[in-house]
């Protein structure tokens, strides 16, 4: 396991450093998301880069807003695919250092998005922006419980991929 992890880390370094980066380009605007694997590898995204990925719209009711709201943004799975990183767990870190761990299986089993927009508008920090993890609560009512609410981190600034 250790060796494998090590190897994977080396592979990631190789991909990131030597070959042309796997994702479209390097951020030009302010970095709003940093993805790390706990070792040296790390990837950074600005809004354009996230917008360049396939967008999904999730309209759902949440505990944090009055009535159903329309969230949109890329699937976390796609973001991870962009980084080429792989693990068993994602640690979602918020601006205020709040953090929640999400099993990797969540992003495989559900179309979980990293919402960049609320009702078509980008979100300021005061509106829980810039990034908001949104589960498809309306499509999967069984997700409407404290466990998934706690994983729905807002004001996300970084994701740590854990082996």
């Amino acid at each position: 396991m250790h060796i494998l992890t090590h190897f994977r880390a080396l592979a990631a370094v190789a991909v990131l450093g030597v070959v042309a980066p796997a994702w479209a380009d390097t951020p030009t605007g302010p970095v709003i998301l940093t993805v790390t694997d706990g070792a040296e590898a790390q990837a950074q995204f600005d809004l354009d880069m996230l917008d360049a990925l396939d967008q999904r719209v999730t309209t759902t009711e949440t505990p944090w807003y009055e009535g159903p709201q329309e969230f949109s943004g890329p699937l976390i799975a796609d973001v991870m695919a962009q980084t080429g990183m792989d693990g068993s767990e994602l640690n979602l870190v918020a601006l205020n250092d709040y953090a929640a761990a999400m099993p990797w299986s969540d992003i495989v089993d559900f179309p979980v998005i990293l919402a960049t927009r609320l009702n078509g508008e980008t979100m300021a920090v005061r509106d829980k922006g810039p990034l908001f993890v949104i589960y498809p609560f309306d499509e999967h009512p069984e997700l409407k419980n404290e466990v998934y609410f706690s994983r729905s981190v807002w004001q996300v600034k970084a994701i740590e991929v854990r082996p």
Binding site: E66, L95, N96, V125, R126, E146
Partner: protein, 725 residues
């Protein structure tokens, strides 16, 4: 009362089951309602999408402090580079406070006005701060002052979020406790309902089991009853069938000799010459003997059926008995060309001699009857005190199936056999009863066409000494000294005549009192005692004689062969009884049975036919008398009876006038005794009948007188007829 209880129980059970079922239904309904309530509550909770309120408040409080710390730091140090951090923390706080505003988010706390007020207060403050925060600029001259202002406001308002946190926490605790209590209550209620349900079901189960058991029990009882009644019906059917079969057999058996009698009588009318007539009379006699044997068997059987069995233990010499049997059956065996071997051990035993003889006679007779050719072997063995006798024949044999019915009453193996061999079919049934009464057992093994072996085992007492044993059958008698106690002169004379004929000595007593005295004076070997006598009757006299220590046989003479009379005789101390009218054969049998055989040689020579005197003739009694006493004596007895008749009539007439039924009864009794002894059956029986319908009427008397005269004429005719012969 068991029947009432039994009948009311099912009803009670049904009521109980219905009641418990209703209860169970109610419990289930209540549980259903509770579950619905629980589900509703759950749905309500689920439908509210919310986050942990306490956590939200805590975050708000934390960021309030962060913001305050930053503002204070800037105010104290004047380091404007920290302004970005201040703005950042305000943004975070802002986003947090927005959440406090939301009704759904705080739903579980908002019912507490204090919390709602605090939340409003905080959000008003934070949102109100927006303008001041947004106006901040690093280049502002009074930036530090403004931040210091904000820090002071935050210092004050920090208390609000702290308060809100403490209150929210305790409110959440209260809600949790309340929640737990409600859940606990519902759980208790559910547990109670479940317990009730279980009890109700257990009750229903128990009641149903009880009902099932009752049903099973009554079913069992019914089937037992049915079986029993079926068996009874079967038994009744079998019994009725057996009786019908018996009737058919008996009718056939009785018809055959009757035909012989009728035919012979017809021929007798036509025949001339004394030799031919004698031959016919011989046939008539033989037929009558057959009939009598048949009827004797039936009477014997019905006596035993009524439970009468004489307990009589005498010494028997088995060797002697064997010799007698062989001799008795020799003629029959010779006639059929059969060999009869009788092999009994030369032992002396104590047993019921008459019954033992009867058993062996029956079995040997059967064996001879059912064996066409070959031999019949009788074997006896005495082991300790158990006598086993086997009678083996080379006869037709009996199938296993028939062996089962063999000892039943009225059963012969089948109709065809009964045609061939005749008989009442009572022989083996009588044997079986005798053996049972003697405390033994009896059986048969047989194979069809090969032969049969009948055996019986009876307990006896083996004798070691040489005491002479009683001869069982027709043993020669010594001369006995006999006391005749009889008030009726005719009867007395007849009996005395018979005794003289048999060469016995006699004494006479005319009543009970005389009898007692005579016993004391003469010490007779045997006493013949009439039952009804003047002064002291036969029963009382017997009692007194026994009282005085006389232990010889006392034989009752009675006209009535009813079991009660017999029992009365035995109870009074008599050894046996002879039914009247007395015949020579009966008298001889009784004497030989009771007196025992001594070594005295037989001194008598019987007239031909008297060896086995029978009542087969037209008036057997009279013929019997004639053969025993001779014509002269009989004629004189008849004449005396005829001469006394007017006196008897006169005395009866007086008794009727006086209304003295006792005297009437006595006179009729005396008359009857005399008449029957002389074979005057019609008048004798009439007298007997009249004794049952006292008081007498004069017409009865006239009728009796007429009958008596007819009887006397008849007797005289017969006597003159036999005298001619």
């Amino acid at each position: 009362m068991p029947t009432r209880r039994r009948s009311s129980q099912p009803w009670k059970g049904r009521f109980g089951v219905a009641f418990l079922s209703l209860l169970a239904f109610l419990f289930v309904a209540a549980a259903g309602i509770l579950f619905m309530r629980l589900l509703d509550a759950e749905r309500d909770m689920d439908s509210i999408v919310r986050e942990d309120a306490v956590w939200a408040v805590f975050q708000t409080d934390r960021h309030m402090r962060e913001l305050h710390r930053h503002a204070q730091l800037i105010a104290e140090t004047g380091n404007t580079s920290l302004l970005d951090g201040l703005l950042f923390h305000y943004d975070i706080l802002y986003s947090r406070v927005q959440l406090l505003e939301r009704g759904t988010f705080l739903l579980d706390l908002s019912d507490q006005q204090k919390l709602a007020d605090l939340a409003d207060n905080i959000s008003d403050f934070v949102f109100g701060l927006t303008d001041q925060i947004d106006a901040l600029d690093p280049d502002m001259p009074n930036l530090i002052q403004r931040v210091s202002d904000i820090a002071q406001q935050l210092e004050v308002k920090r208390e609000l979020t702290n308060n809100l946190l403490l209150n929210a926490n305790s409110a959440a605790n209260a809600i949790r406790v309340n929640d737990r209590e409600i859940r606990g209550q519902i759980q208790d209620q559910l547990a109670f309902l479940a317990l009730g349900l279980i009890l109700a079901f257990v009750g229903i189960f128990v009641l149903l089991m009880l009902q099932l058991r009752n049903v099973a029990q009554s079913n069992r009882r019914m089937s037992v009853l049915r079986l029993r009644s079926e068996k009874q019906a079967e038994r009744a059917k079998a019994a009725s069938k057996a009786k019908s079969a018996f009737l058919a057999t008996m009718s056939h058996e009785i018809r055959t000799p009757l035909n012989g009698i009728i035919g012979s009588a017809d021929l007798l009318r036509l025949d001339t010459g004394p030799e031919a007539q004698a031959k016919r009379i011989g046939t008539i006699r033989a037929s009558a003997i057959l009939l009598r044997d048949l009827i004797d068997g039936i009477l014997d059987f019905s006596r035993m059926e009524a439970g009468v069995f004489e307990e009589r233990i005498v010494k028997v010499d088995l060797g002697e008995l064997g010799a007698i049997l062989k001799e008795a059956f020799a003629a029959q065996a010779d006639a059929s060309g059969l060999t009869l071997t009788v092999n009994l051990p030369p032992e002396r035993i104590l047993t019921n001699d008459a019954r033992l003889s009867q058993l062996m006679i029956n079995l040997i007779g059967n064996a001879l009857k059912f064996t066409p050719k070959g031999e019949v072997v009788v074997r006896g063995a005495l082991q300790d005190n158990l006598l086993r006798v086997e009678v083996q024949d080379d006869g037709i044999g009996i199938s296993a199936e028939d062996q089962r019915n063999l000892f039943k009453e009225f059963s012969q193996i089948d109709d065809s056999l009964s045609r061939r061999f005749g008989g009442s079919g009572l022989g083996l049934a009588i044997c079986k009863r005798i053996v049972a009464a003697l405390g033994g057992r009896m059986g048969v093994s047989s194979e069809v066409g090969v032969g049969s072996l009948f055996w019986f085992e009876i307990p006896v007492q083996r004798l070691k000494d040489n005491t002479p044993a009683a001869a069982s059958i027709a043993a020669p008698l010594r001369s006995l000294r006999v006391l005749v106690a009889e008030d009726n002169a005719v009867n007395a004379e007849v009996v005395i005549g018979m005794l003289t004929h048999l060469e016995h000595d006699h004494f006479y007593a005319a009543n009970g009192q005389q009898a007692i005295e005579a016993v004391a004076t003469h010490l007779p070997d045997i006493v013949l005692m009439d039952m009804q006598m003047p002064v002291i009757d036969g029963l009382e006299a017997t009692r007194r004689i026994r009282c005085r220590g006389y232990d010889g046989p006392i034989v009752g003479l009675t006209a009535n062969a009813f079991p009660e009379d017999r029992r009365a005789c035995l109870e009074a101390g008599m050894s046996d009884f002879i039914p009247k009218p007395i015949t020579l054969a009966a008298l001889e049998r009784i004497l030989s049975m009771h007196a025992g055989a001594l070594d005295a040689p037989p001194k008598r020579t019987l007239p031909e036919g008297a060896q086995t005197p029978e009542r087969g003739a037209a008036n057997p009694q009279l013929e019997d008398l004639f053969q025993t006493l001779g014509a002269e004596l009989v004629n004189s007895l008849i004449n005396r009876f005829a001469a006394e008749l007017p006196d008897v009539r006169a005395a009866l007439c007086d008794a009727i006038t006086a209304g003295d039924t006792n005297q009437q009864d006595n006179l009729l009794h005396t008359f009857k005794g005399g008449a029957l002894t002389l074979g005057m059956v019609k008048s004798g029986n009439e007298a007997h009948r009249l004794r049952g319908v006292l008081p007498l009427k004069r017409e009865n008397l006239a009728q009796l007188y007429t009958l008596a005269q007819q009887d006397i004429a008849m007797a005289k005719d017969i006597m003159s007829a036999v005298e001619v012969q």
